[in-house]
C-alpha cells in the first residue's frame, strides 16, 4: 500500500522517486548519525555487505558526525538528489521526524533504523529495544548473582536514549532483588573513561561482584582496571552490543562473562529496502531479536532472548 502512495504523488514532484518498479538500478541514501562508535561502523558495513549481493543497488553513505542539523540536511540533500529510498539511523527522534515526513511527501520511502522518529510517518522501522535488552541483562545478572551482590554500573552517555533505556531496563529487572548498585558513573561509551571510573570504584570498594557496562568497550575498560588491580577474577563483567570482533570475542577470551547483542539491522534494512522497491509490502515495525553470549553458549553462537 505504501508503494502505491509513492507512485501516486511521485509524478506531482519534479524530482521525486520515479515509480520504483520501473527502474533497473536503485539509489539508496543512507544517513548515519555518526561513525565514531564501532557499532555504527558495523551497521554501515552490514548494509554494504548485504547490498553487495544485489548489483542493482547503489548506496550513498553519509555521516552526520553527531549533528542532528547535519543529518536533517542529509535528508534534504537526498530529496533534492531524488534517491529512490532513504535509510536513516537518526540521532534524535524529534528533530528528524519532520524531515522524514518531507521525504515521504516527496514520495521517497524511508526506512528508520535503530532509533525511532515520532509518529508513524515513515515506511518501516527496524530496530532492537534497548529497554528490553537492559531488562534481560538485569534478569541474567540477578540469576548469576543469586539475587544479591554488589554491582558497579558504568553508564553510557546518559543524555542519549540508549543509555537511558539500558539503565532503566536494568533497574526495573533488579529492583526487587537484594542487588545493590554501589557505584555508578557516566563513562560516555568511552573505554578510557570506563577504566578510570572502575579504578575509582576499586579503590573505594573491596567487595565488587559484578560490573554492568552499557557497552562492551566499557566492560573491557573495567576489566583492564580490575586486572591491573589483580581483582579481575573475583569480578564478573557484563557488556552490551556483542559485535563479533568485540564483545563476542571478549567472551570467548573469558574477559567478559556475558554480552547482550544489540543488532545493527543493516542486513534486515536491505531486505526491507528491496521488498519496498519491488513494490512488495513490508511490516511497519521490525523489532530485531537480541542474543546473549556467555562462556557456555558463545561457541554455539549465543541464545536468543526476549
Amino acid at each position: 500500500k505504501k508503494t502505491s502512495s509513492n507512485s501516486a504523488n511521485s509524478d506531482s514532484k519534479e524530482q521525486g522517486a520515479a515509480a520504483p518498479a520501473a527502474k533497473a538500478t536503485y539509489t539508496i541514501g543512507m544517513s548515519q548519525c555518526n561513525l565514531g562508535e564501532p557499532w555504527r561502523v558495523q551497521m554501515n558495513d552490514d548494509i554494504r555487505r548485504a547490498a553487495e549481493a544485489h548489483p542493482e543497488l547503489k548506496i550513498i553513505f553519509k555521516d552526520a558526525q553527531n549533528d542532528t542539523l547535519k543529518q536533517r540536511s542529509h535528508v534534504e540533500e537526498f530529496i533534492s538528489a531524488g534517491v529512490d529510498l532513504i535509510i536513516i539511523s537518526p540521532k534524535e527522534a524529534q528533530p528528524l521526524t519532520e524531515p522524514v515526513a518531507k521525504a515521504m511527501q516527496a514520495g521517497i520511502p524511508v526506512i528508520v533504523l535503530d532509533r525511532r522518529v515520532i509518529g508513524d510517518n515513515y515506511t518501516c522501522f527496524i530496530g532492537a529495544d534497548n529497554r528490553l535488552i537492559g531488562r534481560e541483562a538485569g534478569k541474567w545478572i540477578a540469576s548469576v548473582l543469586g539475587g544479591k551482590g554488589n554491582v558497579v554500573e558504568l553508564k553510557g552517555l546518559m543524555t542519549s536514549t540508549p543509555g537511558q533505556d539500558r539503565h532503566s531496563g536494568f533497574r526495573e529487572a533488579i529492583k526487587d532483588s537484594q542487588i545493590n548498585i554501589i557505584f555508578e558513573a557516566d563513562m560516555k561509551w568511552l573505554e578510557p573513561d570506563a577504566r578510570k571510573e572502575m579504578e575509582s570504584a576499586l579503590s573505594r570498594f573491596d567487595q565488587i561482584d559484578l560490573v554492568y557496562a552499557h557497552n562492551d568497550p566499557g566492560a573491557h575498560g573495567a576489566w583492564l582496571a580490575a586486572k591491573a588491580a589483580g581483582r579481575a577474577d573475583k569480578i564478573k563483567f557484563v557488556g552490551i552490543d556483542a559485535l563479533p570482533h568485540e564483545g563476542v570475542l571478549y567472551v570467548t577470551q573469558g574477559i567478559l562473562d556475558a554480552t547482550f547483542q544489540y543488532p545493527t539491522g543493516g542486513a534486515e534494512a536491505i531486505d526491507a529496502a528491496l521488498k519496498i522497491l519491488r513494490g512488495e509490502s513490508v511490516p511497519k515495525e521490525i523489532t530485531l531479536g537480541s542474543r546473549v553470549f556467555t562462556k557456555e553458549n558463545v561457541d554455539s553462537g549465543g541464545e536468543p532472548i526476549g
Binding site: 561513525l35 550513498i60 553513505f61 553519509k62 555521516d63 558526525q65 553527531n66 542532528t68 542539523l69 547535519k70 536533517r72 540536511s73 542529509h74 534534504e76 540533500e77 533534492s80 538528489a81 534524535e92 527522534a93 524529534q94 528533530p95 521526524t97 519532520e98 525511532r116 515520532i118 509518529g119 529495544d129 529497554r131 552517555l157 546518559m158 543524555t159 537511558q164
Partner: protein, 346 residues
C-alpha cells in the same frame, strides 16, 4: 600567533600603504583575500557539484541555514577576539539556552516575548560573568571561558535532568506521542520570500549588521580595537578597559543565546549536549576570515566571509557524500589552501 607579533616588522615591509597603487592595496586588503578564499571554495563546489545539486538554489539555501548557527556564534566571538581574548564557552551557552528555551516554551508555556528576552539575558549573564573575571582579576580568558564552558554544560544537564527537552512524551508502552511544537519554534524554523530564505539565515544576517554597526560605527567598537591593539595605550588614553571587556564577553554570550534559540527551534527540542565543540568552529570561522587572534585587527565583514567559506566547504563535501575519513583530510587540505591563498596576496 606569530602573525600579530611580527606585524610591526611587516609594517616595516609595507611602507606607506594606500597612498599609492590603490588597486594593489585593495587586492591586498584582508577583505579581498578572504573573498578570494571563499571564491576558491565556491569554485570547488561548481567543479564537484554532486550531480548538479550544487547548481540548485535549495542547496545554497540549506548551506546558508546550516552555516547560520555557527555564523551567529562567530559574530559574538569576533568582539572577544578583537580585544585579544577568546571565548570557549559559546558552545555550552548555546546548549544551556537551547534547554532553557525549550523548557520555557514547551513545558512552562511561556509566551515568546517573555521566553526570548529571558534566554538572551541568561546568555548575556554567562558572558558578562566570564568578562568580569577576565577584566577584574586579569585571568587568562582561555581558562576563564573554559571553566564557563564546563559550567554551562553542567548547568544545562542539571536543568534538563540529562534528558532532551522535547515535545515527545513516552507512554508506558514505550511508544511516543508529541505535544504541539510551539509557534515560535515553527516561526524561527520556517522560510520566507517564497520558501527561498530560511529565517535563521535572516537572523544571522541581522546579527552581522548589528555587529558591524557596533564595531565600525560606534565608539565602543573603536575602544575594542584599541584594547586589542595595545591595552596599556588604550588605558592611558582613558578607555574604560574593564567595562569594554565585560561588554565584549557579554555580547558573545548574547549571540550564543541567539544561536541557542535557533538551534532549539530547528531541533524542536533542547538538547543539553547541543553546541558541543561549536566554539572551535566559531573561532576557526573568525580566524579564517582573517581576524588575528592577537587582537586589534579584523572585522565583522571578514567573519561573514569566513562563515560562508566554512559553511560551503562543509556543504560541498556533504553533497558529494565524501566518506568520513577522506572528508576530514580534504577539509584540512582545503582550509590550508584557502589560508595560503590569502597569505600569498599579502
Amino acid at each position: 600567533m606569530s602573525e600579530g607579533r611580527t606585524e610591526e616588522s611587516e609594517a616595516f615591509a609595507a611602507a606607506p600603504r594606500s597612498t599609492t597603487a590603490p588597486l594593489r592595496a585593495l587586492l591586498a586588503s584582508p577583505t579581498a583575500t578572504a573573498l578570494l578564499a571563499l571564491c576558491f571554495v565556491l569554485a570547488l563546489g561548481f567543479l564537484f557539484s554532486g550531480d548538479g545539486a550544487f547548481h540548485k538554489w535549495t542547496t545554497h539555501r540549506d548551506a546558508l541555514r546550516q552555516a547560520s548557527v555557527y555564523g551567529i556564534l562567530a559574530c559574538g566571538m569576533t568582539f572577544v577576539i578583537i580585544t585579544a581574548g577568546i571565548d570557549l564557552s559559546v558552545g555550552s551557552v548555546l546548549g544551556l539556552v537551547a534547554v532553557t528555551f525549550s523548557t520555557l516554551s514547551i513545558h512552562e508555556a511561556w509566551p515568546p516575548w517573555l521566553a526570548v528576552p529571558a534566554c538572551l539575558a541568561l546568555g548575556g549573564a554567562c558572558g558578562a560573568a566570564s568578562g568580569l573575571v577576565v577584566a577584574k582579576w586579569r585571568i587568562q580568558p582561555f581558562i576563564v571561558t573554559l571553566a564557563m564552558m564546563v559550567f554551562a554544560r553542567g548547568l544545562a544537564k542539571t536543568l534538563s535532568g540529562g534528558m532532551k527537552v522535547s515535545t515527545a512524551v513516552q507512554q508506558a508502552d514505550g511508544s511516543w506521542t508529541a505535544a504541539p511544537v510551539p509557534g515560535i519554534f515553527r516561526l524561527i524554523d520556517s522560510r520566507l520570500l517564497g520558501d527561498n530564505v530560511s529565517v535563521v539565515s535572516l537572523i544571522f544576517l541581522s546579527c552581522i549588521v548589528l555587529s558591524w554597526i557596533i564595531l565600525s560605527r560606534l565608539r565602543w567598537g573603536r575602544y575594542l580595537y584599541a584594547i586589542g591593539g595595545n591595552e596599556e595605550a588604550a588605558r592611558l588614553s582613558g578607555v574604560p578597559v574593564a567595562a569594554m571587556k565585560v561588554m565584549a564577553y557579554a555580547l558573545a554570550g548574547v549571540f550564543a543565546a541567539v544561536a541557542g534559540l535557533c538551534q532549539a527551534a530547528q531541533e524542536q527540542q533542547g538538547d543539553p549536549e547541543a553546541g558541543l565543540g561549536y566554539e572551535l568552529t566559531a573561532i576557526a570561522i573568525v580566524v579564517i576570515g582573517g581576524t588575528s587572534l592577537m587582537g586589534g585587527r579584523g572585522g565583522i565583514g571578514l567573519t561573514l566571509l569566513g562563515t560562508l567559506t566554512i559553511g560551503y566547504l562543509d556543504k560541498i563535501l556533504s553533497v558529494n557524500a565524501v566518506p568520513e575519513a577522506s572528508r576530514l583530510m580534504l577539509t584540512a587540505v582545503i582550509i590550508i589552501a584557502a589560508v595560503l591563498l590569502q597569505r600569498r596576496n599579502h
